[in-house]
Structure formats: C-alpha cells, structure tokens
Symmetry: C2
Subunit: 329 residues, 2 copies
C-alpha cells in the first residue's frame, strides 16, 4: 500500500512530518511517499536509518501555509505539496493522502483534484472524539458552516459507513446534536434533519445534548460544521483548562503536591485517553479518495497514527462503503 | 427588598427550594416570598427556625412541571407558582422573580406576564461560565434557537449592561462564538453579526473559538441559543466526564489512590470553582422585570445564591442599565 504524506503540512513540518512518516513506514509496513521540497525532505530523512523502508520523495516546490485562503492557495499553487500529493492519488499512483496542513486547503485541494463522490452534496470533516466509554465519531467539524437538512442526513450515512467498516463498530448509534432531548427541540435545521434521520433506516437514537457527547451516548454524532467545530475546539480547550485548574489548585498545598506526584501515573493515563495524537487523524468524507486530516499541532506520533488511519480506511474499503451507504438513501 | 421564589420550581422542589429560600432570607437580608401550594410550603417551612425572617407564603394551586410544553402550560395554568409569582413582580409587589423550574416556562411566563423591554426583539437566557481566569457571561443559552444578526447585537448590549452594572466588570470584552478567529470565518449569521458588532461601540474583540471560552478570552460571550445551549451543557458534561475519568484511572493504582487522598483538598477547590451552585443562577435578559433562572438540579445553596443574584440585579439597576444600553443602539 502506498500512502502520500504531505511532508510540508503542519505546524512542525517538515521535521516532525518526516519523523512521523519514517515511524509509520516502520510500524505499519506501508510505502510512505513524502511530498515536499526535495532538499528539505532529504535533509530530514538523512537523520534516520531508513534501510529496508520504502520512503520515496516526490518533489513539490510550493507550500500552502496555515494562514492562506484555502481555495485561492490551491488554485495558485499548482506545485504545492497538497496539490502534487492529491494528484498522485488521483492518478492511482497512491492509495491515500495524509496532511497536517491547512485543513481548508486539504478540503479545497480534495474538491478540486479528486472531486466529490457522485451523489454527495457536501464533503464533511470528521473527528474521533474521546468519551468516558471510548470514543465517538463526529462530523462535520468545520467544512460546512451553513448546512441544509439533507447534508446532515448524508453526513449520518457517511459516518455510519466509516464507523462500521473502518472503526469496526456494528450498527452504530447515530445521534444529532441539539439543545434538548425531545424531537421538537432544536433549530429549524436540526428539527428537519431529525425527521429525515427517523426515516433513514439507520440506528438513530434521536437528539443528543451537549452533555451526552462526552458521556458516549452515540457512536456517530451528526452536526453542522459550525457547531461541530465549536464542540471539538471547546472540548480540547476545556480539558486543557481543567487540567490547568487542577495543577493550580494542587500547587497551592504542599500535601496535595506530594499527592499529585503519587498519582502522576494516573494523570498520564488520563492525558493519554484524551490525547488527539493517539487517534492521529480523521477522514475528509465524501471526496473521491482517501484523505486523512491530522491536527495542525501534530507531533510525530500523531502523524504516524494518521498514516495508520489512512491504511485502515483503504483496507476497510471506506470509499466503497460510502458509495454503498448512498445507495440506501 | 422583596424577592419572589418559585417554591415549586426545580427537580427537588419544594423541600430544597424552601430550604434555599430560608437560607437566602437569613444571609441576604431580603424578604423571600414563597409562592406555591400553601400546605406543602408551610410544612417545609416548619422545619426551620424562621424567627426574625420575612418569609411570607403566597398560595398558587398549580405547578408547571419540567416536561410540560412551556407556552401551553403557562397559558393553561393561570394559578401556577410561576404565573402567580410573575404577577407579583408585574404589580410591583415584589422586585424580582427566581425559579429553578422549567426554564422554557419561566421564559414564556415572563413574556406573557411581564412582556419585553421596549425595543428588545428577543429576550435571552444567560449563564455564568467558569473560566481559568474567573468567569465569563454567556448568552443566549437556549431561549432562541434560530437567530437573526440583530438579535445577537442586542444580546451583546444586554450582556455588557449586566456585566458592567451587576457583575462589576468595567468595559467588558465582547466576543462572538465562531469556528475560526478571522472575521471571514463563521456561519452567515455570525459573519453578519460580527460586522454589526464591529460598529457597535462596544469593546468587541472579535470571534472567539471554542477553546477561547474556557480560557477566559472574553467577558461577554455572544451566541445563538442553539450553540450556547450546546456549549453550556457540553462544558458541564465534559467537566463531569473528565473528573470521572481521573477517578477511574486513580482507582487502578493503589499508589495513585493514596496520592489522590492527599490532594483531596485541591480537588474540592476545583469542584468548587466549577460548581454551578456557587453562581446560583443567571438572568433572563430583555423582559420587563428581574427574572433569575436557576439550574433545574439546584441544591439549596444554588437557590440561596440565585436569590443573591436577584438582589444584586435589583441593586445594580439591571433593567435601567439595559434600557440605557439600548439607547446607544
């Protein structure tokens, strides 16, 4: 299997991207095609023992920066690592594309170069969300700020296809984010989408409130990209803030400080359970190719795991699953 | 000062409501008018030493239950504690109304009995949101699921009026919830409201992302009632989930368990900083009267503090402040 890694994507690229790529090639036994400025990538690669690994470099002279306007950048920079990398997938020379770069850029690049799956109205960004019982799969988390009910219905089908076929959860419970449990609660958008989901044939459990998401009430959490983005960023921020508050209070008391030292291993486990790097990345669903978006702040472990997610998506037949799912619509 | 307390409102009413009312009369030196089924309220009241306190009972034979349809219930139950209590405020026989009951019912009751402040398009439910640096004031958290940009602008003015005059924060920083920092980010609603806020003369700091809210980036956080409700409930749920995960991991190790015992006091401080009961309740802004909504799960401390919030709102001239704020619009 050949997986393209955007060697220039992410806050710590290229060093961290290349390190994660090497690690992925070792651990997941795939060919990792590093796309980026050849000189930079080669220099980074020289720092590792890559004997026996398949890590070809494909040169791309341009980089789409984090703060660039996505669509404009993708159009202007035809020789960027994103565009060149996507084209490898388009031409069938690679099976998947992974990037920790500008997520809007990945989205725009995927739309322009790979296109949508026939019948899909809007692709959606997804995320794996840690819960008390494990994790749930949430979409959209930022691709579509203003949605129509039918988009949310399609997000549900795509989310179920991915969750079943790639994450291995049978008959996943689907919930739609709302401001109350009852089906009469919610914005006009959510109320209309709720009615469509009820008739969808999916394992629809109804509305999920904010508190129900971290409690793990649903396996697939459907929402518009505005709300989903707020949820994802709020959750990350809140976990950080809360751990910060705990640290602050612990420091105030010498006894508590000793206590915290003794419970250090437990806190490390907590951080691990919440760590985005463990999940690596999540797919951009609805485009005609396997595209995995990793966190901009990705460290090498996150990049390595994002490549694993790509591998699993290819092995699980993600694209075929989504196409099958659409048939039932 | 006379504050009406809905003795039948909340998950644990009337016992907890009455207990909180007695406590409030003692601690805040106000007259607490207990509205509800006289026999029930009298029986609860008999359990306390109320000598020297002013705790009159006003009989109301009906109760609006938590799961009832708000508007229909308020219309049908003219002798409910909510309607009777609101009417005391309307007739000038009391200065404020406090309830931990059905928040939609409080909203409907306030609209029908007290009406809106002239010029206010939509009243908003607010909440005090704990942050790493203290708290912020967020609105709307559930009254209006579908908003227009001008509603959000009014929420900002009302929020600033309350935050300055009642919470005592000078020149509060106003942020609008969005899915990105740049002003071009956000739903159509948010982008339009952003432009209005820029010209508002308020201390507008721009978009706040999910992660920025718990970090305390803004003092007044403006959003639509759908998003605000999701944020408020998610935050409460996530804090609970996270503390649950910590407990779970701590229990796995005897050493960590000992450590946690030593740091118990620090964790109690953390819980206190996050405890909604400390804040008591938050106002329904935009109606023509001081109406404080407390959490449905309120304990006696939360009820007591909600009465304090009502007292502060009356003393701070909340209604006049909102009316003044509207002048500048």
């Amino acid at each position: 299997m050949k997986i393209v890694l955007d060697a220039m994507g992410g806050d710590h690229a290229p060093p961290v991207a290349v390190e994660g790529g090497v690690w992925a090639a070792q651990e997941h036994g795939v060919e990792v095609i590093l796309v980026g400025r050849e000189e930079d990538v080669r220099r980074e690669l020289a720092r590792y023992d890559t004997s026996g690994l398949s890590l070809p470099i494909v040169h791309a002279s341009q980089v789409i920066e984090m703060e660039e306007h996505p669509a404009a950048a993708v159009k202007a920079k035809k020789d960027s690592s994103m565009v060149v990398g996507m084209d490898l997938v388009k031409r069938g020379e690679a099976d998947a594309f992974v990037s920790a770069g500008n997520s809007g850029g990945v989205m725009a690049g995927a739309l322009f170069r790979l296109g949508r799956i026939r019948g899909i109205k809007r692709p959606a960004l997804s995320t794996i969300y840690p819960t008390t019982t494990g994790f749930c799969f949430m979409l959209d988390v930022g691709a579509n700020t203003d949605c129509k009910p039918e988009y949310l219905l399609q997000f549900a089908y795509m989310g179920v296809a991915y969750t079943e076929r790639v994450l291995g959860i049978a008959n996943p419970r689907v919930g739609i984010v709302s401001n109350g449990e009852e089906e009469t609660k919610g914005s006009i958008l959510v109320q209309e989408a709720h009615q469509m989901l009820k008739k969808s044939g999916l394992n629809f459990i109804g509305n999920v409130e904010g508190k129900d998401i971290p409690a793990g009430m649903a396996d697939v959490v459907v929402t518009d990209g505005f709300t989903g983005n707020v949820i994802a960023k709020l959750s990350e921020g809140l976990a950080t803030s809360l751990l910060g508050i705990i640290k602050e209070e612990v420091k105030k008391s010498p006894l508590a400080t000793v206590g915290a030292l003794l419970s250090k291993s437990a806190f490390e486990q907590v951080r691990k359970r919440l760590d985005y790097a463990e999940f690596g990345g999540a797919p951009l669903l609805g485009v005609n190719g396997v595209v995995i978006v990793a966190h901009g702040r990705s460290n090498a472990k996150a990049i390595k795991n994002a490549v694993r997610v790509a591998k699993q998506a290819v092995e699980g037949g993600m694209l075929a699953a989504i196409k099958d799912g659409l048939q039932s619509l």
